[in-house]
Structures are given as structure tokens and as C-alpha cells.
């Protein structure tokens, strides 16, 4: 192994309080272990033990990536939360898993031999456990009696069995041994536990393979060493006289940045000037360096070349400094309650006017709301309120509108405009040109875009050539398909059960999906019962395109799950050609918004061909606009969200579904990727007779997606209209 790779095993930070990345991983990985433990409790009995053993892995990964302090904080926090979730029954397994994971991770990070690793595990887990058992037994005769009686009961059964089959001498010896062990419990019990822990530790050696994979493929948090050094100096020396943040006016001159060990600049030659009260819009497609620019402006990265001039430090997150609002709403809200979120990270002496801040962003009266009950648009407003609590001089929106629908976006952008007028410098990063209209200045970074490695932008038709080599074999019919005869599906296409030559959308014969009086209640019978759907009647025809829309909480995602057969309706029937959808897995494909969750194998090709041969997989990839040769070997974790969604789509197509349901397929995609995805879906429908239901709040390209638009509100279908079709 090279020296550089060896250095990778050292955690980037070694002293002082936990850094944000350490704290975040400590909390999230501890939660993951807890979730595994909980699933283990609810899994069938054979699988339960496996899940509980797997809870070791998150802790091992944490301890292998970060210093001991993070691992210990995580162990204590996870055990505490576990005890609140389910008492001692869940706390003890989580605590033991954390101890095992910690020692495995440390042994890996310090490159100890497996033998030393096992010894270490026995020392830090086995010995304390043994001591605890002894202490408990010594303190409580009752506890001792209870556990020994349990052992005797079990042995009596075995003994009867042994006597029954004539192994009397074995039975005698066993009874003698058991009596000896119970008489000398203070030695036998701890010894037994240590032996068990040693055996488990030997089993954990296999985890090292896994940890190598994690280290190779999951990047460590981006920490700019120059910034980290400066912060260290500030923490060590000048805490008594902290520099007052002065992020604006800021002047960038020919600034470039390249990430360590990257092949090319992420940001190249950017110059700009930003004054207080300026509203600057930064536009450009995915991958053009917008986020890197944000990091430079926020002082998180020092440019590799060029100059950044500002009167004082950027002061990210400090009062009077720089604030950022990010893309994914639910990831940047840190408080359980709105009130907690606003003061999260503020010094105690700061007492912001919470009601006033909420009013300013249009969330009056939300103080006591739990953040997990808020919609995405509300969460983004809350994030802005939390930013404003620090009275920032510079507010950066890093694609804060990308996951919000049009009215939500307009609200956020006009709020930013108003804030600029009150003297705050605003930088709004977006891939939508129309949002830039309200800005004072626009920085267009589209020239710097690096092409995505998919062939998404290929000319219409070529992506659909379902042979291994894409050739433009099909004429595109520019009109609507209903009532017309579409081109026959090519040989070997994904025509499911629709025969070639049959109209893609056929209202003759039997409908594909029939829903009658469908209702769905979450947590029925509990105090948290919530009705998501009521009296939904819906008929879908083969090859049809339907757009399902409605406000947040209208039940459209629930309907998507029902259409995909992932949930049974609590009322009514949901049938696919006469049979319940849920009993016919594979006939309906569903694409979730976070596509990574549905990719089950590490590389693109291995995932797509799950349950099919390579030839089909290649054709499916071409059908969704992915080049099998360049994309096939890539790791799914390295792909963008849009690319992952395409891979998930290909993975569905190999199973020849009759219906594909897509939940918010546009979220986070730039204009070009959206148009190309819409085109892909349209062609799939036209050429292979698969019905497509798109669940979205985003109606920008709706007419390309289908013939019908269905509005859902408050769990009911409120309106249905025909879409005009393409011009």
C-alpha cells in the first residue's frame, strides 16, 4: 500500500471538540445501528439475530473513519436513545454492538494484526462485560438465583433427553460440571462471556474486508487543510479577541479551485464583486462548479490560484458572518422543534426574536411545530429563518429552490429579493434562468460545465434503438398517440404483453389497473392514525401516460405505493388485470425520489442485470439513455442523482413491467436533464406499450408525459383533465 493510502487511515482531525462531520456521522451511524436492532426485533426469528449482529458494522465504520472521541460519543448517544426506544432489551444489544464495532474499527485504523485485534476486543468488551456481570451477581443474590435457575431449567431438559437415550454417564458428568460452575460462578460466568466475545471477535475479522471497501469508495468529508489549520490557530490562540466577521464586500479575482487528487479544476477562473445589498444569481447546469464557488465564498475552501479579498473573515455560521441554505430541506433542519432549530448553534447569550424571524419568512405561529411534520417549502423557509437568526451579512442559497415546486420557489426567491433590499448580500445558486430575473447581476457558469457521462442528450430516437449499438432507426412521431397507430415496436424491444402494431394506448378491452373505492389510513387504530386516501376510483389503460399531482400531504405518494403494490389499501380494491397488485410483484415498477435506495448492487451493470441476462440489461440501459459500455462498470455511488434514477429505471425495464410509477422524477435535475428524462419516458411509453404514471408537483413538462392530468387533494381525486399533447 502506498504512503498516501496509508495516511488515509488517520482521521483528519485529532484534537478538541467534535467537528461537524464527526458529530453528524456519530449521530447518523448510531441511528443506523439502532434501526437495524429495531428491525431485528420485528423480523422473523431466524433473521432477527442477523440484523442484531449487523448493528456492529455502523460503529466499526465510524471508528475506522474517525477518532475515538467520535466513536465514544456515538456509543453513549445511541445506547441512550435505544433505552428510550425500547428499554434495556434494546439498549444492551446496542451497547454491546457499539463496543464490538469500536474495537474492530480501531484495530483496522491502527493496522493491527487480526490476532491483536481479537485480543483488544476481548480486553475492551469481554473484560468489562465480565466484570459487570460479576458485580451484578455479587450485588444481587436474587439476580444470581434467577439466572442460575434459568440455566438449571435448560440443563434439566437436556439431562432428561440424555438419560432417555441411555447416555447416563454423560448426564452425570454434565450435572457435575454444571454444579461446579454454579458453585464457582464468580469465575465460570465471566470466563464463559470472555470466550463468547473472543469467538465473536474472530467472526468480526471478516468485517475488515468491508471496511477496506468503505475506505476505498466513501470519500472522507471535504476538509480544506488550510481552513482547518486556521481554525485550529483561532481556537488555540486568539479566542479572547475573535476577529469580527466581515464577509462583504467580497472581491474574487481569477479564482480557481481543484480538489485534492482530482484530475481537473472544479472551479476555474471566476471573477466577481459582491457589495452589501447586492443580489447575485449564479446559474449553470449540474457539475459546473457552483457548489465549489459557494464553498469559496463561505471561506470553507481557499482558492488554489487567484485572490479572494474581503474586509474580514467570512465567519460561516457566526453572527454577522455568512449563512448558507442548502438543497435538501430535511437534511439541513437540525432541531426537533422549530424553536430548537432556530437557536441551534447560536451562543447562549444570543436570544433571537423567534416569532419575528418566523413572521419574516411567512411561518407565523410555527414555534412549537415538530420539524418532521413540515413540508419541503416550509422547511426551506425555516432554514432561511435560522440563517437570519445570525444576522448574516452574506446569505448564500445553494440551490435552495431545486427541490421546491413553482409557487414555493417563487416565494423563496421573492423572500431573497426582499432580504437583499434590507442590506444583506445575497448569492442565489440555481439552474433556472427565470429565477435569475429578480437578481441584480447574473453569473452564468454554463460554459464550465463538464458533460455527464450518460448519453442523455443524444438526438431523439437514438437512445431508443434497442440494439447494442445506438443507431437512429426510428422516426419520431411528433403528435399525440391516442387514436393513432404508433410505429411498431422493434424486434426485441420491451413491448411487454402489448403485441407489435397495437396502439400504445388502448381503451378497448380490459383496463390494466382498476382501483375502486381505495382508501388508506396510516397507523389505523392508534392515536397517530392518519387518513391519506379516501374513495379513490382510478382506471389506467395499457400504454397510457398519467400525471398525478397535488399539494403536499394530498396522498399522492401513498397512491404511488398502492399502484406499485408495495402497500395494500385499507379499504377498497386495487387490481392489476383482475388480481390484487400486491400479489403480482415485478409487473409494476416504481422509481423513488432517492433512487440510491433502490439500487441493490454496487455497479451499474450488476444492478441492472439483477434477475435478467446481460443482453437485456444492455438494451434496457440504452432505452433509458445510458451507454452500457461507459456506464456499466461505474459504481452507483459515484453517479449523480439523475443518473441513479436512470439506472433504477433500467433495472425496472429488464423485468418487462406493464406499468412504471415514478415519484418526483424531476427533483434536483437541471433543465437539460429534465427535458431528456421526459423525452425518454415518452418514447418508452410509445414504443413498448408500458403505462407510465408520473407523480409530481412540477407541471413544467407535464404535456410531454401523458394524456391525463389527475389532481389529488386531501386524499381524494378532485379533478381530472386531458393534457393538450405536444405542440
Amino acid at each position: 500500500m502506498t504512503a498516501a493510502a496509508a495516511a488515509d487511515r488517520r482521521p483528519p482531525v485529532r484534537h478538541g471538540p467534535l467537528r461537524p462531520s464527526e458529530l453528524a456521522e456519530a449521530a447518523v451511524l448510531g441511528d443506523l445501528a439502532l434501526v437495524m436492532e429495531v428491525i431485528g426485533w420485528f423480523a422473523p426469528i431466524g433473521v432477527a439475530g442477523i440484523f442484531q449482529a449487523l448493528a456492529v458494522i455502523p460503529f466499526a465504520v465510524l471508528a475506522a473513519r474517525h477518532r475515538l472521541r467520535a466513536a465514544l460519543v456515538s456509543a453513549v448517544a445511541a445506547s441512550t436513545v435505544a433505552s428510550l426506544v425500547g428499554g434495556i432489551g434494546i439498549m444492551v444489544p446496542v451497547a454491546i454492538a457499539s463496543g464490538l464495532g469500536l474495537s474492530v474499527g480501531i484495530a483496522f485504523r491502527r493496522r493491527w494484526s487480526p490476532l491483536v485485534g481479537v485480543g483488544f476486543t476481548v480486553l475492551v468488551v469481554g473484560v468489562p462485560l465480565a466484570a459487570l456481570t460479576d458485580a451484578l451477581d455479587a450485588a444481587s443474590a436474587g439476580y444470581r438465583k434467577l439466572s442460575f435457575d434459568q440455566i438449571r431449567i435448560l440443563w434439566n431438559i437436556v439431562a432428561d433427553l440424555l438419560k432417555g437415550i441411555g447416555l447416563n454417564s454423560l448426564e452425570r458428568r454434565g450435572t457435575y460440571l454444571l454444579n461446579w460452575a454454579i458453585a464457582h460462578w464468580w469465575a465460570s460466568l465471566p470466563l464463559g462471556e470472555i470466550v463468547i466475545i473472543a469467538l465473536v471477535a474472530v467472526g468480526c475479522i471478516r468485517l475488515r474486508v468491508f471496511l477496506v471497501e468503505v475506505r476505498r469508495h466513501v470519500p472522507m468529508p471535504v476538509a480544506d487543510e488550510a481552513v482547518e489549520r486556521r481554525r485550529h490557530r483561532a481556537a488555540g490562540g486568539a479566542t479572547a479577541h475573535p476577529e469580527v466577521p466581515q464577509p462583504v464586500p467580497v472581491h474574487l479575482e481569477h479564482v480557481s479551485y481543484r480538489y485534492p487528487r482530482a484530475a481537473r479544476d472544479a472551479l476555474s477562473d471566476v471573477s466577481l464583486t459582491l457589495q452589501p445589498g447586492n443580489f447575485l444569481a449564479v446559474v449553470g447546469p449540474n457539475g459546473c462548479g457552483k457548489s465549489t464557488l459557494v464553498r469559496v465564498l463561505a471561506g470553507r475552501l481557499e482558492p488554489r490560484s487567484g485572490r479572494v479579498e474581503r474586509p474580514g473573515p467570512a465567519g460561516l455560521g457566526l453572527v454577522g458572518g455568512t449563512a448558507i441554505v442548502f438543497q435538501r430541506p430535511e437534511s439541513q433542519v437540525l432541531g426537533v422543534r422549530v424553536r430548537d432549530d432556530i437557536v441551534w448553534g447560536l451562543p447562549h447569550r444570543e436570544r433571537p426574536d423567534i416569532a419575528g424571524l418566523l413572521q419574516r419568512v411567512g411561518l407565523e405561529g410555527f414555534e412549537e411545530r415538530e420539524t418532521s411534520t413540515m413540508s419541503g417549502g416550509e422547511l426551506q423557509r425555516l432554514a432561511i429563518a435560522s440563517a437570519l437568526a445570525r444576522s448574516p451579512r452574506l446569505l448564500v442559497s445553494d440551490e435552495a429552490t431545486a427541490m421546491v415546486d413553482r409557487p414555493g420557489r417563487e416565494g423563496v426567491v421573492s423572500l431573497l429579493r426582499a432580504l437583499a433590499s434590507s442590506g444583506i448580500a445575497i448569492v442565489h445558486v440555481t439552474h433556472r434562468l427565470e429565477e435569475a430575473a429578480l437578481a441584480d447581476e447574473v453569473l452564468d457558469m454554463s460554459g464550465a460545465a463538464h458533460a455527464e457521462s450518460s448519453v442523455a442528450a443524444a438526438p431523439i430516437g437514438s437512445g431508443l434503438a434497442l440494439s447494442p449499438k445506438p443507431t437512429p432507426r426510428f422516426r419520431v412521431i411528433p403528435s399525440k398517440t391516442t387514436g393513432e397507430t404508433p410505429p411498431p415496436a422493434p424486434p426485441g424491444s420491451f413491448a411487454s404483453s402489448a403485441s407489435p402494431g397495437r396502439p400504445a394506448t388502448s381503451r378497448r378491452g380490459e383496463p390494466l389497473v382498476t382501483m375502486e373505492g381505495v382508501g388508506y389510513v396510516y397507523a389505523q387504530g392508534s392515536p397517530w392514525a392518519h387518513r391519506a386516501l379516501q374513495g379513490v376510483d382510478l382506471v389506467l389503460w395499457r400504454g397510457e401516460g398519467v400525471v398525478l399531482t397535488g399539494p403536499n400531504g394530498s396522498g399522492k405518494s401513498t397512491l404511488a405505493w398502492l399502484l406499485a403494490g408495495l402497500t395494500l389499501p385499507t379499504e377498497g380494491t386495487a387490481l392489476l388485470e383482475g388480481e390484487p397488485i400486491a400479489s403480482q410483484p415485478g409487473r409494476v415498477g416504481i422509481s423513488f425520489q432517492h433512487a440510491r435506495l433502490q439500487l441493490l448492487r454496487p455497479t451499474v451493470m450488476s444492478d441492472v442485470k439483477l434477475g435478467a441476462d446481460e443482453d437485456r440489461a444492455r438494451r434496457a440501459m440504452l432505452a433509458v439513455g445510458l451507454d452500457p459500455d461507459t456506464m456499466g462498470p461505474r459504481r452507483v455511488d459515484d453517479l449523480s442523482g439523475g443518473e441513479q434514477r436512470r439506472v433504477a429505471l433500467a433495472g425496472m425495464l429488464v423485468r418487462r413491467p406493464d406499468l412504471i410509477v415514478l415519484d418526483e422524477p424531476y427533483a434536483g435535475l437541471d433543465d437539460e436533464a429534465r427535458t431528456s428524462l421526459a423525452r425518454t419516458l415518452e418514447q418508452l411509453r410509445r414504443l413498448s406499450g408500458v403505462a407510465v404514471v408520473v407523480v409530481t408537483h412540477d407541471l413544467d413538462n407535464a404535456e410531454v408525459l401523458g394524456e391525463r392530468l389527475i389532481h389529488l387533494d386531501d386524499g381524494r381525486i378532485t379533478a381530472e383533465e386531458a393534457l393538450p399533447g405536444r405542440a
Binding site: 434501526v35 426506544v85 434477475g611
Partner: protein, 293 residues
């Protein structure tokens, strides 16, 4: 096109909003997606009872002391004392009946097997039914073990049903003052606990989607043990990769807030009812210790 009301981004979120933190545990079976949202972790049931209004820290102390007492002195008398305290808590809290979790089916199976073993093992006292002699000693121990487990779980649930989630971490921080005197990083741990509680719904939701995605792509062919092991490894990898990406986003958000977790200082008064509960708990502990013989 008709006007659309202001809406939001995250589709997956919609499910977690009200339906909550469901986990579909029974992934192995074919047509049981109903269980998905039947299981609830750390969910508050609004109410105005004395238990609801009590300081969260008092309830945590209550929970911890009764659990420790049952662990140290596992006798029927201690179970009786604990049972009175837990039942009393439930009566005062006046929770709706629907909160009771639906236990997984295998629990009943396990109980049945355990029951059979316990009866089979015999032991004093003996009861004669005609010619058959049944020893109830094993059953006695078995029942005692289960009663303790159930009481501890019931108390944990009672605390989580009557305490808003947001109150838990600050109360722990206030209870941790002796450790803070020892210069232990109490605030850091409390910050991590608060963040864990905040992220738990997100991770449960991801677990739910992950399990649904596996169901959707399940192949009908029989799988070998090797393929199952591979599938499990892939599943872990997907969960881990998602969790780490989520952590990265959260880390960025923490950094944008100055990087220091501070919990909103809590000012909940320690009222008379808190004092009464602490006194009752201490009295209960003493009773458990004295009645152990």
C-alpha cells in the same frame, strides 16, 4: 390548467409526515405490506395529564431507577412494587388504548415455546392432577423473567408517549450536571443525542423505502444461501452509503450554523408533582430492596 396550491418538494417525506416512522419488518413474507406503518418509535401522544406536564428529567429518573431496581432485585415482590408504579403512571396519563404496540407474531411463538420448556423442566412447587405431577418451579422463573422485561418496556413506552421528543435531550443535559463537574463532554453527548433523535425518523423512512425497493425487485426464482448472503451484503452497503451521504449533508448544515451544537436551554420548573414522583420512586426502590428476601 387549474391553479395548483403551493406545494413542496420531497415526495418521500409525504409518507413520513403523518404516517410516521413505520418499519416494515416482515420483509420475508409476500403479501404483508400492511405492517409497514404499524410500528412506532418515540412518538408523542398529546395530553394534559400530570404525567404529561411533569419535567422530562423526572420521568427519565423514574424510568432509570425502576429499571435498575428490577434488575438488582428480581423477585415477585419487586415486580409487584414496579407494577404498581407503572400501572399508576398509565392510569394518571390516561393514554388512549390504541397506543399499545402490535407485537410481532413470533413473540407469541417464543412465549409458547418458553412456556412449554418451563413446564417441562418442573421443579418445586408440585401440583398433582390425578396421577400426573406437574412442577411449576420452572414456570415461576419464566413468568418472573417476562414480567420484568414487560415492565421495563412499558415504562420506556410510557415516558416516550408522554414526553415531547424535543424535551428529552435538554433534560438529559440538565441531569448531567455531576458529570459536567468531572469535565466530561456532557454537552457534546447531549448534542449528539438530540441530533440522533432528530435523524431517527429520516433513517427509519429510508429503511422503509429500502425494504420496499427490495420487495419490488424480488425475483420469483429461488435463491441460494450464497445469493442471500450477497443480497444481505448489498443491502447493508446501500443502507450505509445512504447514511454516510445523509451525514455529509447534515455536517454541511452544522457547519453553516457555526459548528457548535447548543441545545436550547430548558427552563421547565421542577414542580411539586415532580418531587412527589421522585419521592415515590425512591420509596419504591427501598421497598424492592427490603422485600427481596
Amino acid at each position: 390548467m387549474s391553479p395548483i396550491r403551493p406545494v413542496v418538494g420531497d415526495g418521500a417525506e409525504e409518507l413520513s409526515v403523518h404516517g410516521g416512522l413505520g418499519v416494515d419488518g416482515r420483509q420475508g413474507r409476500r403479501s404483508s405490506p400492511r405492517a409497514m406503518s404499524d410500528f412506532h418509535v418515540l412518538r408523542y401522544v398529546p395530553g394534559s395529564s400530570a404525567v404529561h406536564r411533569m419535567w422530562a428529567g423526572t420521568k427519565l429518573v423514574w424510568f432509570a431507577l425502576v429499571s435498575i431496581g428490577l434488575l438488582l432485585w428480581p423477585t415477585w415482590r419487586a415486580v409487584g412494587v414496579g407494577g404498581v408504579m407503572v400501572l399508576g403512571g398509565f392510569l394518571v396519563a390516561r393514554l388512549p388504548r390504541g397506543v399499545a404496540p402490535r407485537l410481532p407474531r413470533w413473540i407469541w411463538l417464543l412465549l409458547l415455546v418458553g412456556f412449554a420448556i418451563a413446564v417441562g423442566a418442573g421443579g418445586k412447587p408440585y401440583v398433582h392432577l390425578g396421577r400426573v405431577r406437574i412442577g411449576f418451579g420452572g414456570l415461576d422463573q419464566f413468568a418472573l423473567f417476562w414480567m420484568i422485561a414487560i415492565e421495563v418496556l412499558a415504562l420506556a413506552l410510557l415516558v416516550s408517549w408522554t414526553t415531547p421528543l424535543a424535551d428529552l435531550a435538554p433534560a438529559l443535559g440538565r441531569l448531567g450536571w455531576p458529570l459536567r463537574k468531572l469535565r466530561l463532554p456532557v454537552d457534546e453527548v447531549v448534542g449528539a443525542i438530540a441530533l440522533s433523535i432528530r435523524c431517527l425518523p429520516l433513517l427509519l423512512e429510508e429503511g422503509r423505502v429500502l425494504s420496499a425497493a427490495r420487495r419490488a425487485r424480488r425475483s420469483s426464482a429461488k435463491t441460494s444461501a450464497k445469493e442471500m448472503a450477497q443480497g444481505l451484503e448489498d443491502l447493508i452497503w446501500a443502507a450505509l452509503s445512504n447514511a454516510l451521504r445523509r451525514a455529509r449533508e447534515i455536517a454541511e448544515a452544522i457547519e453553516a450554523r457555526g459548528g457548535v451544537p447548543t441545545i436550547a436551554p430548558e427552563t421547565h420548573p421542577f414542580a411539586l408533582r415532580d418531587g412527589v414522583l421522585v419521592a415515590l420512586t425512591l420509596a419504591g426502590m427501598t421497598a424492592m430492596a427490603l422485600l427481596r428476601a
